[in-house]
Amino acid sequence: METQINIKISYDFELICMVFSLNTVDVLQDYVNRISLPKHLSNHPDDPSGEDLELILCSTKTQDPKVIDKKIVKFLKKEFKQESAKILNQGLEQPETEALLRKVIKNCCPAIIKLRQDLRKQLALDFKIVGDDN
């Protein structure tokens, strides 16, 4: 999915790319390509310890207000954690596990967008939702 991205880069980022003759777009595209929850959860050999995901999972700002966080976690535990645990317990090969997990995640996305839309309405909150507003 080709998408327009608008960011601001630091002098530091520009300089390090220049020193190592790296194209800034390639650096960013590589980051996108590394982000994969199904690969990580299925212990793909490219990143078995999940280091590539730490930045997005643990250090990137979500658009969710704190007040809805608990509800989202509850939903994910119910809809996603249980389903993924079932797949992981089947003892399948990594590629099969990865494909099944991808399906679960894909199915989970519309439901979580809907949940956020409902919560935004119910609680009269003002925040953006990926897949709805941006």
Binding site: M1, E2, T3, Q4, I5, N6, I7, K8, I9, S10, Y11, D12, F13, E14, L15, I16, M18, V19, F20, S21, L22, V25, V27, L28, Q29, D30, Y31, V32, N33, R34, I35, S36, L37, P38, K39, L41, E51, D52, L53, L55, I56, L57, C58, S59, T60, K61, T62, Q63, D64, D69, V73, L76, F80, I105, C108, C109, I112, R116, K128, V130
Partner: protein, 142 residues
């Protein structure tokens, strides 16, 4: 959020030392299904995901390991890409290579003194380095 689903990830409440992005960049990227899905699960905008990565790539951390969470997470990914580029294309001589020597020496001095990438001296070196390159570029285009 998803960090709680994977207990080995610890959610960090506050990001540290976020430099201000200065140069606007508008690009087209091919977003993978997995990237889009994780952004939807976490409600992270695509721009924010990439901004966070770009914000924490630092020359200082290329040379010294500060062991700081967010910078280390970003640099780990950057170094993987760098390594794959070097193995595919070999080492290339940087454009304006002579102009990089002194600032890198200055950063090495800072690093040996364990000053860290958050000190004012580092910011000043980076600014001056960047402006020197820009001047050279302007000179080339005239």
């Amino acid at each position: 959020m998803v960090c709680q689903l994977k207990p080995d990830f610890i959610m960090q409440e506050n990001r540290i030392n976020i430099p201000q992005g200065i140069i606007p960049l508008s690009i087209k990227l091919n977003l993978t299904e997995d990237f889009v899905n994780i952004c939807q699960l976490m409600n992270i905008s695509f721009d924010e995901a990439l901004q966070t990565y770009a914000d924490h790539i630092k020359v200082y951390n290329q040379l010294f390991n500060e062991h700081k969470g967010v910078d280390a997470q970003a640099m780990h990914i950057f170094k993987k890409f760098q390594k794959s580029c070097i193995s595919k294309q070999g080492l290339k001589v940087a454009v304006y290579s002579q102009l990089h020597v002194n600032p890198i020496k200055e950063i090495l001095k800072l690093g040996r003194a364990k000053k860290g990438s958050e000190c004012a001296e580092y910011e000043s070196i980076i600014k001056q380095w960047y402006h020197t390159i820009m001047k050279a570029k302007d000179g080339d285009s005239n």
